[in-house]
Amino acid sequence: MTGSRTHQGGIIDRNKTISFTFDGKRYQGHPGDTLASALLAQGVVLFGRSFKYHRPRGVMSAGVEEPNALVGVGTGGRYEPNTRATDLFIYEGLVAESQNRWPSLSFDLGAVIGLFGRFVPAGFYYKAFLGKPGLWKFYEYFIRRAAGLGQPPVEPDPDSYEHRAAFCDVLVVGAGPAGLAAALSASALGERVMLVEQDLVLGGGLIRDADSMEGLPAQAWITKALATLTERGVRILNRTTAIGYWDHDLLTLAQKLVEPGQAPEDGQAAQRLWRVRAKKVVLATGALERPLPFAGNDKPGVMLAQAVRTYVNRFGLTPGAKAVIATCTDDAYKTAFALADAGCEIVAILDSRSESPSEIVKAAVARFKVRFDTQILEAAGGPGGLTGITAEAGGQKLQLSCDLVAASGGFSPVAHLHMQAGGTLSWDEANGAFAPKTSRQNQVTVGAASGVDEANTSASGLTPPKAVDTKHSFVDFQNDVTLADIDLAWQEGYRSVEHVKRYTTLGMATDQGKTSNIVGLARLAALEGRPVPHVGLTTFRPPYTPTTLGLLAGHATGKHLAVIRRPPLFDLHTEQNPLWLPSGYWMRPRAYPRNAETLHAAALREARTVRQGVGWVDVSTLGKFEVAGPDAAAFLERVCATTVAKLAVGRGRYSFMLREDGIVMDDGTVWRIGPERYLLTSSTGGADRMSHHLAYVRQVLAPEMRVAIANVQEHWTGIAVAGPKAKTLLAQLAPDLDIPRHMSVARSQIAGVPVLILAASYSGERAFEIYAAGKDIVPVWQAIATQGTDHGGCAYGLEALEILRIEKGHVVVGGEIDGRTTPHDLGLDRMLNPKATYVGAPALQRPDLQSSAGRLRMVGLESETPIPEGSMLVSSIPGTPQGHVTGAGQRILEDGYVALAFLRDGSERLGEHLVAWSPSRGAKAPVSVVDPVFYDHEGARYRD
């Protein structure tokens, strides 16, 4: 096969030349050329090697369905593998390379697999390596090298991708004659219309066929239609593929702003993802031609008949000089005329149907050698192109010499979006095609996508000649699945089409079986002796064509992946250069190391300062909710599992909340800040969940209650001041303040800022949480830091907070409150409200949650060596796990290590000796089981 450019014709701009490279060699093309057309026009035959057998492959199609001509395009971070050469418009400087070949495309060592005829049949890997895991490990490296497509890029993608939303009355997908007509009539009615086309140019089949329309030449009609649509304000997007049809008429569109591998202009995105909600959707997605099943149907030089016509009429080139047309449709006859008119020799037209009375066939009989009831058996040729074919007619064999086969095996309407939208299909037996039947959403299918013209095609293309060599007759070209593979799967008992698909990999390549699925289904149906629809169809999944991950990610990459919330004191912390820890969405200081201290050393110094003097910590991010109204106390007794109603004004208490299944959800404190006003705190990470839960109880469970809830998490920013000198420090900061006793509320001013003071302790020392409104907290922090430093105090971070709370035996959400623990497991059951008015009370009555037998209960662990975080508790190594460590720390002022842990029947096992073992870290520690409060058991230190 030697392709060459014709002297005229096509819609390429012959006045301009673009140069590019393919496998390092320089080529030229014209604006409007695809990589495939530009290379075909310069006589290139071989485009790549196949997935499994490394067979030489050329170009099969002229569109997105291309399974053979896959290339890697671009360089560095812009490299894109597996790009269809037929769906890549050339640009100056384009760099493309062939894939899956070594050391070079023309001399490929992997092809020896094919030379020896040692084809790897369906299920080969399953069978060869079943029960022999060691063998797989040995061969995996070689197999993964041998089989495969392109390599992913290793460098980061330098480009940006946009997401955009749009709405319209009518969304038309596909700008062929049917889509253009739909857009014209919808826009004539004044509807807001969007028209999207995956190709660079509008016109679809009109460009391929160069027909006339309404008395105008195709190109003139398209130009006129485009002008009308533009005038009516229709939004037209070319190079835009509708990749998914989702719920309630939402479609996603992938728009290429530049071609794959091409650098966008500065500041411009490479691609754009549209989410379009349409009132009505018109699918004018056309139909795809199918290949014919014969031996060597994958060889370079065998192409789809419509694709050949596209190359002649659109790109002004002939892919070969001597062509055989093999068909079961009238459509392929148009290709014969187009080729002949372009100066190509038509060796023969081989039609698997009997003689037909249609006009085009009669005209062809008059001009060409047409043979009816004739099917191709085999194509001969190699990497350099075709040399000829063998056909069969009534048992007689026939040899023909040619360098191009234009094959038409019938058409499959593109029903992908219709099916994604929940539609159904009906089987057209005469044409051998599935066509849209009913729609679930507000969507219609028009044009070739709605069904195949009955008079012009036949299902006979789905039936290969009896004498065909099935081992070399390809069904799925991209995954190298042959007729023999499907036969084998059937013989081995695979009946469900979904199983055959997975066993043979039919339709599982990046083309998702666009050209192969129906051929494979028909083979399966023939084997079973059942009609095709009874065999079933695999699911049509989005995206319709391969989509880059960058497009889906949009801006959500790197630091834009998730929002970062900076608490109001963020800038002040930054001055001290702390180690940061993300906590929920918030960035919080983990520790403030001095003089190259390690995290651990800094945290221990900070914790010791709290135990011996005073420290202060940013607690702004805690969840905070104000609950007010005549029924506020009653409402809180629904939310909190502890009593609230008895709380006096100005007092607070520790509390926890349950889920409906009786498991602890969160914990915090509840404060009565007015006669009918309460402040409820929760964990930082649990604040959103608590917000939802409060709304649920308020709206769904207790709608009759007179209560209002305000989420004041970001209104009240706070600092906890803790330590034996905290009271002295506070007295200096707020001289007029009557220092509140433990679990009491006070209001005052510090540094001129009105503050709310809650005397609560998490560290085990006397402590005060000082809250101010938003950024007003800044001077308060500065005052505390200035005067606190005079007392030898320091700021402390989350790590010190953690060591302090573990030593004190306080539980934390995400640690001990892990979504599995009940109040009993945590030792909180004595605090439960006996009136049991709270959420979770009904389920908590379940005997399994009440009894301690067999449950993991919280205990403390002591050791002389560090206890590995997250380790399991065993009697001896190796042993059956009996529990696990949830928080490991150390004694702050004394020697020794401590941890909080959950141990089966733990509360009855105090005094036992176990091993905390972490095989994954290779760490262990002998531990003894003790009460989980390691410091100031009586609570003397935080009371005055």
Binding site: W246, E704, A843
Partner: protein, 85 residues
């Protein structure tokens, strides 16, 4: 992405809403233990029409009752909660 018509805010994308639970599994505060087990653990998982509780969390915050088809995702009804179900 489903389109849910909030009675307060009008048609909004599903991303603004949060599925909460099946209406059937809403547990009254004074439920018995048996009722809790039935509603939490032994509820239907319908393939078809289902009554569901959603919340317009990123909008007005209201809890809504949806009559929704779990296979086709058709939404037949969206209503405010009149009283405790």
């Amino acid at each position: 992405m489903q389109l849910i018509t909030c009675p307060h805010c009008g048609p909004r994308a599903q991303a603004e809403f949060e599925f909460d639970r099946a209406v059937e599994s809403v547990l009254a505060l004074d439920a018995t233990e048996a009722e809790a087990v039935a509603r939490l653990y032994r509820r239907e998982n319908p393939k078809g029409w289902s009554w569901e509780l959603w919340r317009h969390s990123a909008g007005c915050g209201v809890f809504l009752k949806l009559h929704r088809h779990t296979v086709t995702h058709e939404i037949a009804e969206v209503s405010l909660l009149d009283a405790a179900p």
